[in-house]
Amino acid sequence: MAHLKGGKVDVSQIQAIERSYLINLIEKHSGSKAIVWDSQIQAPAGLVEQYSVLKAYGVVKLYPLNNFPISICPAKHIIFICRPKLKLMDDIIRTIKTATKEGSMERHYHLIFLPRKSLLCINKLEHNGIKGSLKTIEEYNCHFFPFDSDLLSMEIPEVFREYHLENDPSSLYQVAQSIYFLQSRFGPIGKVWGKGAAAKQVWDLLVRLQKENRDTSKFEQNSCIDQMILIDRSVDLISTLATQLTYEGLIDEIFGLNDNTVNIPAEKLMSTEERHIESLQEEKKALILDSSDQLFADLRDKNFNGVGSFLSKQAKLISAQLEDRYDKSVQEMKIFVQKLPTLMANKKSLAQHTAIAESIKEVTDTYEFLDSLQVEQEFLNCIQTDKANPYIEDMITQKKPLVKVLRLICLQCITNSNPYIEDMITQKKPLVKVLRLICLQCITNSGLKPKLLEYYKREIVQVYGLEVLPTLTNLEKTQSGTRQYTVLRKGLRLTVEDTSEINPTDISYVHCIYAPLSIRLVEHLTKNGGWKQLQDYLGLLPGPTLDETPLTSNSSIYNNNSSKIVLVYFIGGCTFAEISALRFLSKQEDSNVEFVIATTKLINGNTFLESLMDV
């Protein structure tokens, strides 16, 4: 896993620690072991340790918790590893109860919570009389899953929902702990910025944690991370809703990119000859995509319009290299042969990415994709955002997937500022009335005219049924506060025309015309060393602004010579397009910033909205 190294903040170090934690937890029990995973974390856990390594420690098999055939499991020790969620406890209780009923063989059960124990879960086990059957209950302090040399994710999809919808701060505590963990490894952080209520609360909790543990843990003396920027997802929902148009972003939008793995229909990956031979045995093929594949590392952050030409250039290069073998001396031939395996690997990867790019193009060429993109870009450019959009109406009528419909409506809500309330204030209408409307907006929570929103809602319920009412209510709750998109769009240059998609000069290339608001804020910070000039605009975004310089004994924080390391932490998730935009920023000539990106979950518009829906 060499691709994790290379950054100044060594992600492979985090992986090594988490590995050793896991091995320690497993090694303890002698005899054959089966690990039963909460299915939500089994895949990301693969980023920490491979199954082949676990085998060496007596693990005979891995199972998903929701489908665990305990009666045929031969292992002596059954180790459950799961998130502290009550629903999962039901599965564990059921599993153990069935096994006890059958009573075939003696087994030892162990439960490991990731990342920490929960009182409610343990209570539940106790009420069901299962706690006694569990020989050990432990914690696996794994805060992050390492995705790449500059990317860490907690892989908790509910963070935004929990905090902004359910008013439950549990996950923020976990975020604070994860930052504390990073600091204990990579030294104290010298400067902290943030925006949004969640950012502020995380910071307060972090300060508390540091105070609580002042003496038990000593931080590394050198600070590797110079600055940290905490971004509450609620500050910028637009960037999650806009369709990502980078290579990696589109892979995620179309096929779903989870834990660096994408499932592509197998027939797309095979050449015509192979198709005959293998006769389509498997329907989908899992591919691992990370920067250990150099070609993918080059491609991932590109706008998709630049991918085709890049691939054909690479193809020419490789075939030229392969052609080169004729008319050679023996010596030269020897060198050529040595290079051959790499060449063949490159060729294979090229074929793979060409196939993926072709399957993406199939989708992006469809009218459906293009129409939806057009509507989206109209919204982002503030063109007719306050009327019922015929395209959305058509989508509802044709009963397209609800997520897609909601994604566009949300985008329309956010990008549209509400002129009503502004007018009322300027006309000095009675305060009570204004307040009432603002409250109403907090309930309906959108910039859309109430009538239009009602129209949408009524239409949605008529078509999709009353079952969607909880989801609609959830969405209303999350979009609180007035957002002045029109003002922000101008002030922060959120839409940029005429930028080249192949040789971009601005981060807006990741959505073709729209620059992610979150990354604009980061860009401004790293270029100007503060948000002073943005005061007016920051005020329009929800939540407090954070600007802290924690006291540290370390003096060498502002080191202008070498590049600065900035940790950007997205509380509530971030998209691949945002990551690409950050990478783009640090690659600019005048930049001396290196970004490390941490997030609670890698998301796109669909997965984000799904986390807010009630099914």
């Binding site: 008013n167 193009k361 009528t397 049924g465 009412l469």
Partner: protein
């Protein structure tokens, strides 16, 4: 601490004595009964042991095991002392003590000698491992205390220490010693007398000066007399000057420790420790002993002087001090808590909850709560506050910490302990706690959820809860009642939209029921849209029309439904008729769309193709080109684009046709006719 059960000891004789021999993990007992000696081991075995005692005896008076458990000593009633290895296989000596008296105590002095005290003669006898003997007579009775490096002899007025003279001390002070340390000491003495002989002595040990210095330093540690200590330290210091690059740490450390030892040996403190004992027990134990006798100030000074960490030193002592203070009544709570906080500050590793706990045991609850304010660990605060039944305070602390596990702990505990009204009142005060509890109730599907949602008067949430319940298939019978309750809740929330949505749902249910009866096919669980669709698909056009007006389905959508259902039913003639019936409110693009959808799966390909051709010209102008392209009529599309004088569209059509085809050339011609520059990139569509 370990407990183990031993076998019952054999024999009936009452005269007996016993010792414990513990080696590492296992333990065994030696029990003497009369003449016999048994070994009782942990694995419940009893062995009769044979000892090689030459002189006849009736029973064993006393036994003692040495500090390192390797040696054992037995005294028989014949007055003989037998010494040997503790496994009794090796005999060191057997000496006649020549005392026929009651034995009070027998203990080992280090590992080299045994000390016996005979009560009625008040005689102390020291016997070496090799049989050498020494006796002392006392005025009063004494008690012997075994130490690691000797024996304390405590009488009513005196405290003595019997100890083998440490080797290094012997080396220096033995008469005619030729050890380097001895010479160095002499040299130092001469130097202080300002005598030239100092130089002679120094030159005698020139090569061994380092050893000499070390010996003097070490010897100083074993001395009790401060003058002798001084003399030796001075000698070490003197010798140090002659050695280049000598490491002074040992010297400095010894001076420090001697200072500490001398201080605690002072009468007022009364802890006569030897150097060895100090090191065996460690600094921490010394501090504990000082703290136990309330010498807090001295303990802190010593901790600082010995440069101990805060955790083992100052903080710990302060914590003890605070606990002592707390247990003593008389001082006002307010003042005392402030006093303690001031002294302890926010010193690291001080557990204020420990101190608070002490206050609780002293029955000072208010003081404890005040002290907890200073505790930095929320879990500790919460734990103790819960114990004190201060639920509100505990909840505040738990919420501040951000650790929701703590918050749940308080919430669940207080739910069980507080009255329902108080509990609800408390939750209402803390919105986060309330949300957490609501979430908990949701997870447990608890009946109290409805109850608790009433607290913040969250009628919207109550309404939603009813709606969700009404959708539960298992509660179908209550469906209407639940929807009514939802309507009432939404009315209270003035949520007109939701009221009407629920009313619609009621209406829909009723309608569906009647439709089911009428057509004996299931309609339940379909949305308004799908119900209408089903009616159309079943060709109940009149019902569909009625249904549509009843539920105010907009024209646009109804047309869509009609078109879609006709296409689904392959009723192409009807579709044609319908398109001509009146002007379509949704344009003719959807007509083309459904046809294209079915073109390749339907058998009526020809009819559909004909229909497409008839619909295409009716498509509105702005999307006409696109639809011609969609239907793959590229030539027409190009023509229309040309007529519309739209270069962008022309380029778009061109991108769809094969390169170097006739059409492509034709389009180029169109473009040049329209007088545009070639090759301007199109902004939308994006992917060409």
């Amino acid at each position: 601490m370990r407990q183990c059960k031993l076998p019952k000891s054999p024999g009936y004789s009452t005269e007996q004595c016993w010792v414990v021999i513990s080696r590492d993990r296992d333990m065994e007992f030696l029990v003497a009964r009369g003449q016999e000696l048994y070994r009782l081991s942990e694995d419940r075995q009893i062995t009769l042991l044979e000892i090689d005692i030459t002189h006849k005896y009736h029973f064993i008076l006393g036994m003692a095991v040495s500090f390192n458990t390797k040696h054992i000593a037995l005294l028989t009633d014949a007055g003989y002392l037998w010494m040997g290895s503790s496994d009794l296989t090796k005999k060191y000596c057997e000496v006649d003590t020549e005392v026929c008296s009651t034995l009070s105590q027998i203990v080992w002095c280090g590992n080299e000698a045994v000390v016996l005290f005979f009560g009625d003669k008040k005689m102390l006898l020291i016997v070496g491992k090799h049989g050498e003997m020494m006796s002392f007579t006392y005025d009063s009775l004494v008690h012997l205390v075994e130490e690691v490096d000797g024996v304390r002899v405590i009488s009513s007025s005196q405290h003595e220490l019997v100890q083998k003279v440490p080797e290094v001390v012997q080396k220096i002070f033995r008469i005619n010693s030729t050890e380097p340390g001895s010479f160095l000491l002499e040299a130092s003495k001469q130097f202080q007398k300002r005598s030239h002989r100092a130089d002679e002595y120094i030159s005698l040990v020139k090569d061994n000066l380092q050893v000499a210095v070390e010996q003097c330093i070490k010897a100083a540690g074993y001395e009790f007399d401060t003058d002798v200590q001084k003399m030796l330290i001075r000698a070490a210091q003197f010798g140090k000057c002659f050695v280049a690059n000598i490491d002074a740490d040992e010297y400095v450390q010894m001076c420090r420790e001697l200072r500490v030892l001398n201080t605690v040996r002072d009468r007022k403190i009364g802890i006569p420790l030897t150097y060895t004992q100090l090191h065996c027990q460690g600094y921490k134990v010394l501090l504990d002993r000082l703290v136990a006798s309330h010498h807090y100030y001295l303990a802190i000074e010593i901790a600082k002087y010995l440069k101990m960490s805060d955790k083992d030193g100052t903080s710990r002592i302060l914590a003890h001090w605070a606990k002592y203070k707390v247990s003593k009544h008389g001082v006002n709570d307010e003042i005392l808590s402030k006093q303690i906080a001031e002294k302890l500050g926010y010193a690291p590793s001080i557990s204020f909850s420990d101190i608070a706990n002490a206050a609780v045991s002293a029955g000072r609850k208010t003081l404890a709560i005040k002290l907890l304010e200073y505790e930095s660990k929320a879990s500790e605060q919460v734990q103790l506050l819960l114990q004190l039944e201060e639920y509100r305070q505990a909840l505040i602390k738990a919420l501040e910490s951000g650790d929701t596990d703590q918050a749940y702990k308080v919430i669940l505990k207080s739910r069980d302990k507080m009255s329902n009204i108080d509990f609800k009142g408390m939750l209402q005060e803390f919105p986060v706690a309330l949300s957490l509890y609501i979430k908990f109730c949701r997870e447990y599907n608890s009946v109290s959820l409805r109850d608790i949602l009433k607290l913040p008067d969250d009628h919207n949430a109550l309404g939603l809860l009813s709606v969700v319940e009404s959708l539960d298939k298992e509660r179908r019978l209550d469906q209407n009642a639940l929807l009514w309750s939802a309507i009432n809740s939404y009315k209270a929330a003035r949520n007109d939209l939701c009221v009407s949505l629920c009313e619609d749902q009621l209406k829909l249910l009723a309608k569906q029921k009647s439709l089911e009866e009428k057509y004996s096919t299931p309609f339940i669980d379909l949305s308004v849209h799908n119900t209408c669709m089903k009616l159309l698909n079943l060709n109940h056009l009149k019902d569909a029309e009625k249904f549509r007006t009843e539920f105010k389905i907009p024209d646009r959508r109804y047309w869509w439904l009609r078109i879609q259902s006709m296409a689904d039913n392959n009723s192409w003639e009807d579709l044609d008729q319908f398109s001509k019936s009146k002007k379509s409110p949704i344009g003719y693009a959807p007509f083309v769309d459904v046809c294209l959808q079915k073109l390749h799966i339907s058998r009526d390909t020809d009819i559909i193709k004909r229909l497409i051709q008839s619909f295409l010209p009716k498509v509105s102008e702005e999307i006409k080109v696109k639809y011609y392209v969609k239907a793959n009529c590229l030539e027409d599309a190009a023509k229309i684009a040309y007529e519309q004088r739209d270069i962008q569209s022309l380029l778009y059509v061109q991108s769809k046709c094969p390169a170097q085809s006739d059409l492509s050339e034709q389009i180029n011609a169109y473009i040049s006719q329209l007088g545009a520059k070639k090759g301007t990139p199109s902004s939308i569509p994006l992917f060409n």
